[in-house]
């Protein structure tokens, strides 16, 4: 019997079409059709400048947007050959790990909901709301954040972030403990999830599968450990590895990874180098903008060269200098702080040259590939530049593309009812699969 589990189906996390050939309840053969959410990311990336691609990258893996942002920005920074300050690395790691937790919460929650554990879904979405409020505090948006920039991040961590983060992580831990109590030794859950959707590690490697999926088969490949980037080599965390490669192992790997991500965030918050420092070296008080301009006019550059300036507090928020230590020093890449844009002509010129159409960041001609550990696996960005202000080719190596291509291997031989938990544990995100 041919059964079409069509694009619009409740148990499908995204829109794909699975045409199953059934013999009673047993799946004999399946054919997977994707592409229903193809939005032309790679083509759009060629029409906008380098910073303009960042909103498009948000919408790739939309449950962990900050990881995509970070991956893309680090790829362009590799192409440019610049490096960002340490504080910026720490900030990027913190927000990436928050994104990873939200991704795993969504995946495990939705997977549990499809097996009937609706309360677990509600608890996990509750935890996700706390984390999204945290992300909103830092970036300004809950989901599509566009936080990272080429050469840094948009703005520093706000005051009070440490306490809010601590509280949000505490709530997340409570939710994880509750969900663990509800699911891990739940007879129904264990019976439905273990033994289904098995794949061996050789097959997984042959298909190019990475991430928690591969780790559940026993291979300990994590880009953060094997090809470390940002400050991951200084942070202590474990990489959970499963044994059997079935759905239950994937669930356990994801739950443990969330715990490890919380551990990373706590360490990073402890180790992060200090933030902006506002006072004038000689007088000890913040230097107002008019004074800085006067000092500049009389040529006293040495006194002002690394001072932070305080502008008129009527520019809401501009009184706090947000930008030291979070941007690369390279002026041809990073937008100046708003105090400089509106305060002196050099800042205005720098802003103009980077933002106006036709001007903008000009990386050298070349090609780079930079992988980061996305929530589903290795997320790689391959960028080819021709020296102009927009990229020549931007290619995303989508982690769940490889997993979806292995879906026949996962499902053939199982029952029809096993399609749901297997597909749930694949964590297919349409924006990433189809771009």
């Amino acid at each position: 019997m041919l059964l079409n589990v069509g694009p619009a189906h409740p148990a499908m996390h995204g829109i794909i079409r699975i045409v199953t050939k059934l013999d009673g309840e047993l799946v004999k053969d399946i054919d997977v059709e994707i592409g229903y959410l193809h939005r032309g990311f790679e083509k759009m990336a060629e029409t906008v400048d380098y910073n303009g691609v960042i909103p498009y990258t948000d919408r790739l893996n939309y449950v962990s947007p900050l990881i995509n942002n970070m991956g893309y920005c680090m790829a362009v920074e590799k192409l440019l050959g610049i490096s960002v300050p340490e504080r910026c690395h720490y900030i990027r790691v913190i927000v990436s790990e928050i994104s990873r937790i939200t991704d795993h919460l969504t995946c495990v929650g939705a997977g549990a909901m499809e097996l009937g554990a609706f309360s677990v879904f509600l608890y996990m979405i509750k935890a996700r709301e706390y984390l999204w409020e945290l992300v909103e505090m830092v970036t300004g948006a809950r989901l599509t954040v566009s936080y990272c920039r080429v050469g840094g991040v948009k703005g520093d961590l706000p005051e009070g972030f440490d306490e809010r983060c601590g509280k949000a992580l505490q709530e997340t831990r409570k939710v994880l403990v509750e969900s663990d109590a509800l699911l891990t030794r739940n007879r129904i859950f264990v019976d439905r999830m273990s033994g289904t959707g098995k794949i061996s590690s050789e097959d997984a490697i042959s298909y190019g599968i990475t991430g928690p999926f591969l780790r559940s088969t026993g291979v300990a490949y994590d880009v953060r450990k094997d090809c470390p980037y940002a400050v991951y080599d200084r942070l202590q965390f474990d990489v959970p590895v499963g044994t059997r490669g079935d759905n239950y192992d994937r669930f356990l790997v994801r739950m443990e990874e969330m715990e490890q991500s919380i551990r990373i965030i706590e360490q990073a918050l402890r180790d992060i180098p200090p933030g902006p420092f506002l006072a004038h070296a000689e007088t000890g008080r913040p230097i107002p903008a008019a004074e800085m301009v006067d000092e500049g006019k009389i040529g006293n550059i040495a006194a002002i060269v690394d001072r932070r300036v305080v502008t008129d507090p009527t520019l809401e928020g501009a009184a706090k200098s947000q930008h030291p230590n979070i941007e690369a020093g390279e002026k041809r890449v990073f937008l100046p702080a708003k105090e400089d844009t509106f305060g002196n002509i050099e800042g205005l010129m720098q802003q103009f040259k980077l933002v106006m159409y036709g001007h903008g960041i000009r990386p050298p001609k070349g090609e780079v590939y930079f992988p980061v550990e996305g929530a589903n696996g290795e997320l790689g960005f391959y960028i080819v530049s021709d020296g102009t202000s927009s990229a020549y080719r931007v290619r995303v190596r989508p982690p769940c593309f490889a997993i979806m291509s292995a879906l026949p291997k996962l499902l053939i031989g199982d029952m029809m009812a096993d399609v749901t938990p297997t597909f749930g544990s694949v964590n297919m995100i349409g924006g990433e699969l189809d771009r």
């Binding site: 193809h38 032309g40 790679e42 042959s206 001007h359 391959y382 020296g387 202000s389 979806m404």
Partner: protein, 219 residues
């Protein structure tokens, strides 16, 4: 192995297969001729010196308009020089897009006015398409990028789906987006666009907002 020794090892193994190589920004890159692709890939996978367990990515780049686009300069006569040249110093600059070296019997029947006629007659020129492969080795933890230049009128390469199962869908996507065929692929049909779509969207001559709606009224 680091980038330089990796490239050297590949060159030693295939002295006439490897046309060029570089390691821009530390990424070991090797450009091979089309005929050698399957052999090189098999060696990369099975040889204990390389052990490339993962085919991480398989994609293509259309180099036909490389360097041709001039940045719009609104103020070109106002004294603010908008030069399109890169402004960042390069210790080891990129050698440029791969050059195609067609074999003697390739591209028969290309008319003389065709832009790749120069290439068809045996003189190397920048290739129209380049198929790019990224490999990663799990035990040895090194990466390699393989590039295969391909011309437009003879856009065909060997399929790697016999070596890595993941190459199946990746090659279908390259066929869909660029129109490059893969010899030996069992099921080469469109994957991201719908079946009736005409053209290959990621080619440079496909305008970004040319629409082919399946249903109307006006889209």
């Amino acid at each position: 192995m680091n980038a330089a020794s990796l490239i050297q090892a590949v060159k030693d193994r295939f002295p006439d297969g490897v046309k060029a190589s570089h390691s821009y920004r530390g990424d070991a890159t090797v450009i091979v001729g089309r005929e050698f692709l399957l052999e090189v890939a098999r060696t990369l996978k099975e040889d204990p010196a390389f052990q490339m367990s993962f085919l991480m990515d398989l994609t293509a780049v259309d180099f036909s308009t490389f360097g041709a686009k001039r940045s719009p300069a609104f103020f070109s006569n106002s004294g603010v020089a908008v030069s399109p040249s890169p402004e960042f110093p390069d210790e080891d600059p990129w050698p440029g897009p791969p050059v195609s070296h067609p074999s003697a019997g390739a591209a028969l029947g290309a008319p003389a006015s065709h832009p790749s006629a120069g290439a068809a007659l045996g003189a190397p020129g920048p290739a129209h398409f380049v198929v790019v492969y990224h490999f990663y080795s799990l035990p040895l933890k090194h990466r390699l990028r393989l590039e295969v230049p391909v011309e437009e009128d003879d856009a065909e390469v060997d399929s790697l789906s016999s070596l890595w199962a993941g190459a199946d869908w990746l090659e279908r996507e390259v066929w869909d987006m660029f129109g490059i065929r893969f010899r030996g692929h069992q099921n080469l049909k469109r994957i991201l666009m719908y079946e009736g779509f005409a053209g290959h969207p990621l080619r440079k001559d496909y305008p970004v907002n040319k629409r082919q709606p399946l249903i109307g009224p006006v889209n």
